[in-house]
């Protein structure tokens, strides 16, 4: 977990500004112990995770919520790079996407995603999803990591 005791440090990788905004607002409104950081494509995500410019000061997240279809570098490539990088390979990654296509589900589990979720529609669906995620996350035992 992050420096603040009990806070989960979560990285959201999503190019949809509306989804990022809603997620951020919801977490704030629900006062969940989650510190949210967001980037909008796979290249930024990899730079963030490797603490490369401009993210040298970023803490390593406890978990990543990863969209699949993004410009520049998509979520499938991020998943594959993370799993093949010895310093990142144990990082929990939950895919959060609109895609329900079997090839995407197959590919993500083959590549090593920890869970696959489909983005809900509307604010009620998102609220429900965040509540369920938070319930599950509150039970998790996560590894320490160097910052």
């Amino acid at each position: 977990m992050s420096e603040q005791a009990g806070m989960m440090n979560l990285l959201l990788v999503d190019d949809d500004e509306g989804d990022v905004f809603m997620m951020s607002e919801l977490l704030q409104e629900m006062q969940l112990p989650i510190e949210l950081h967001a980037v909008s494509n796979g290249l930024q995500a990899m730079a963030y995770l490797r603490q490369e410019a401009p993210y040298q000061q970023a803490s390593r997240p406890d978990m990543v919520l990863l969209d699949l279809n993004m410009p520049r570098m998509d979520g499938r490539q991020v998943l594959s790079e993370v799993r093949s990088d010895p310093s990142l390979c144990g990082l929990p990654i939950v895919v959060l996407t609109t895609s329900q296509a079997r090839p995407d589900i197959d590919t993500c589990y083959e590549t090593g995603c920890n869970a696959y979720l489909v983005k809900p529609f509307g604010i009620d669906g998102l609220t429900d999803m965040v509540k369920r995620l938070e319930q599950f996350w509150s039970l998790l035992a996560l590894p320490a990591h160097e910052t």
Binding site: M1, C89, G90, L91, P92, Q100, R102, I105, D106, Y109, E110, G112, N114, A115, Y116, L117, V118, M129, R132, Q135, F136, L139, L140, A141, L142, P143, A144, H145
Partner: protein, 147 residues
């Protein structure tokens, strides 16, 4: 090898299959009770120990989720090396503390999530309830392989 498995069907027409390494009959009963209390249509197959688990998993097991308690990270790695188990989500119920090196080993070995097992029966049931609800009513599980 004869595999002394005990299939406990929560619902006759179970839509999902779980595989649990659980030698304790009382704990098996608790898992079944949690499933029944949540009306989750899941058929659980229980195995006694790591050897039986590996033997069962080498033979095209029906498993949408594996639930393992305090197993070794090495066992997770062995499971991930089996064709039929590469993509199946593995949840480890553990007493390891957040931040411990053992958790890092679990995640690096390919476990999907480590969940704190709780220090009492009530806590354990609560954790089980949340885990089963999350995986079987929320997550998109990997499509079954037909090899």
């Amino acid at each position: 090898m004869t595999l002394p498995t005990d299939k406990s069907t929560s619902f006759a027409s179970g839509a999902f299959y779980a595989l649990a390494l659980e030698p304790d009959p009382d704990r098996r009963l608790r898992i079944n009770q949690v499933l029944n209390s949540q009306s989750l249509a899941v058929q659980v197959t229980y195995v006694e120990d790591a050897e039986h688990l590996l033997g069962y998993c080498a033979q095209n097991p029906r498993a949408d989720l594996m639930l393992l308690k305090d197993v070794s990270p090495h066992l997770i790695r062995q499971l991930r090396g089996l064709e039929f188990c590469r993509r199946v989500p593995i949840v480890v119920m553990t007493s390891a503390q957040t931040g411990s090196g053992r958790l890092d080993d679990y995640y690096r070995a390919g476990c999907s999530f480590c969940v704190r097992s709780g220090s009492s029966n009530a806590e354990e049931e609560q954790a089980l309830r949340c885990v089963l609800q999350f995986w079987f009513s929320f997550v998109i599980l990997p499509p079954r392989l037909s090899l």
